[in-house]
């Protein structure tokens, strides 16, 4: 099963800048792991995985921008699932996000 992480729906935010990825492509991800830090006009958003998986593809590197709701990365339950070109159709991975 493939998932995407999208930019969380933070109130009063239109787009974010990706600050730093804390997991690399190919790495395993556990629930609670910090995946990526995003910067809004006000604060920093920490996005943490809500379930296990593998980080398969990063769609917005550090320094890049992405709009609210659009995909940031693709994850899969198993290491070897084929990664599609278009991530928009994928199910959202449950995530916890915290605004710091």
């Amino acid at each position: 099963m493939l998932y995407k992480i999208s930019v969380p729906q933070v109130a009063d935010v239109e787009e974010i800048r990706v600050l730093e990825w804390h997991r690399e492509v190919g790495e395993a991800v556990e629930p609670g792991d910090l995946l990526v830090e995003l910067e809004t006009h006000k604060a920093i958003v920490e996005v943490r995985a809500g379930q296990k998986g593998y980080l398969r593809k990063i769609l917005a590197d550090a320094g890049n921008w992405q709009a609210i709701g659009l995909p940031l990365a693709v994850l899969s339950e198993s290491e070897s699932d084929a990664v599609p070109d278009d991530a928009q159709a994928l199910t959202d991975l449950p995530v916890d996000f915290e605004i710091t």
């Binding site: 009063d12 935010v13 239109e14 787009e15 800048r17 809004t40 006009h41 006000k42 921008w65």
Partner: protein
């Protein structure tokens, strides 16, 4: 015609553009200091001064008590005596407290002293309605446009926030620099090369042929949304971002209306004696009678109540409707 490479750009938040301009100018000129509430370690209510306290210290980035009248006076007086203060007024509504030192002293200083003194002070303030209630929502820049000796500018994009603030901090008289609560979430491309934007220069941010929309600050975004709606009806709207309210760039405005024949002015401040009233009058003085309409909020205080606030403020639909009405050749369009 030689083709020049497009200038390198960097995307940043509106607040980062402000901080960048302030930082560059403060590095360049040790006379610049910032006075305001929550500007120091806190970095400004919108983080628009992030990093400046750390770099320049408490002497040059000073937290002041809530006392806008004296704070503006201190800024104006320090400017008269040779410094270049930026006085930050978090809510434009509270600029009113500082009107006496800014207008009665600062704006008149060069004149009343026969040229001996001048007050190069920037009063930076955030205007606009965003759910904070009747005394925390106003856009009163039109009140300041008529003050001899005072310059007034309002950026609608991060690039202009950056370029106009650089010019403001280099001006030799008082400048009111107006930004907007709803612009802070906006990100945009800003030239990497440090370049200041001169005052008195409007920008055609969307070329068009059927009507001219002049506007400023957050309403530029509303106008662009309206222009997209009008495009579906086959109407081509030219949107001009005024950027500079005093002085106004009448050349750009007049050239546009001469081409399109119709003028719609849009502002978030009241249209009675508003920015639009002045633009329309001057355009008619140049071109003779034209079809025009002024769009603005309802003549009511802007409540924090989200239903009532939305009822008061112009939105893309209202602007588009007003533009469509303007196309009827014989009808006079009344704003109320």
């Amino acid at each position: 015609m030689s083709s020049e490479p497009a200038p390198a750009m960097q995307k940043m938040f509106f607040r980062e553009a402000i901080a960048r301009a302030a930082r560059e100018e403060m590095r360049d000129n040790p006379d610049i200091l910032i006075l305001g509430q929550d500007v120091g370690r806190f970095g400004g209510s919108y983080r628009e001064f992030d990093g400046l306290f750390e770099e320049f210290g408490a002497d040059r980035v000073r937290d002041m008590p809530v006392a806008e009248a004296a704070m503006v006076g201190v800024g104006v007086g320090a400017a008269a005596a040779g410094l270049r203060p930026l006085v930050s007024i978090t809510y434009m509504d509270f600029m009113m407290l500082g009107f006496d030192p800014l207008i009665n002293y600062g704006a008149k200083l060069r004149y009343k002293t026969g040229g001996q003194l001048t007050a190069p002070v920037v009063v930076k303030t955030t205007a606009g309605a965003k759910g904070q209630g009747v005394a925390h929502s106003q856009c009163i820049e039109a009140w300041l446009m008529s003050v001899p000796g005072l310059k007034v500018v309002a950026a609608a994009t991060p690039a202009d926030a950056y370029g106009l603030l650089k010019t403001a901090l280099r001006s030799d008289g008082p400048v009111v620099y107006v930004d907007h609560k709803r612009l802070f979430p906006v990100a945009g491309e800003v030239p990497v090369e440090p370049v200041a934007i001169p005052f008195g220069s409007a920008k055609i941010c969307r070329p068009g042929s059927d009507l001219t929309i002049t506007t400023h600050s957050f309403m530029v975004r509303t106008a662009l949304e309206a222009a997209k709606l009008l495009e579906k009806d086959g109407l081509s709207a030219e949107v001009i971002d005024l950027r500079s309210l005093a002085p106004l760039d009448m050349k750009t405005i007049v050239n546009s209306v001469a081409r399109t024949g119709r003028l719609l002015t849009l502002e978030e401040g009241q249209i009675t004696t508003g920015v639009g009233a002045e633009v329309v009058t001057r355009v008619i003085e140049h071109l003779g009678p034209i079809q025009f309409t002024r769009v603005g909020p309802l003549p009511a205080p802007i409540s924090s109540n989200r239903i009532l606030e939305a009822a008061c403020l112009p939105d893309a639909n209202r602007v588009a409707n007003a533009a469509r009405l303007l196309q009827s050749p014989k009808k006079l369009v009344s704003s109320y």
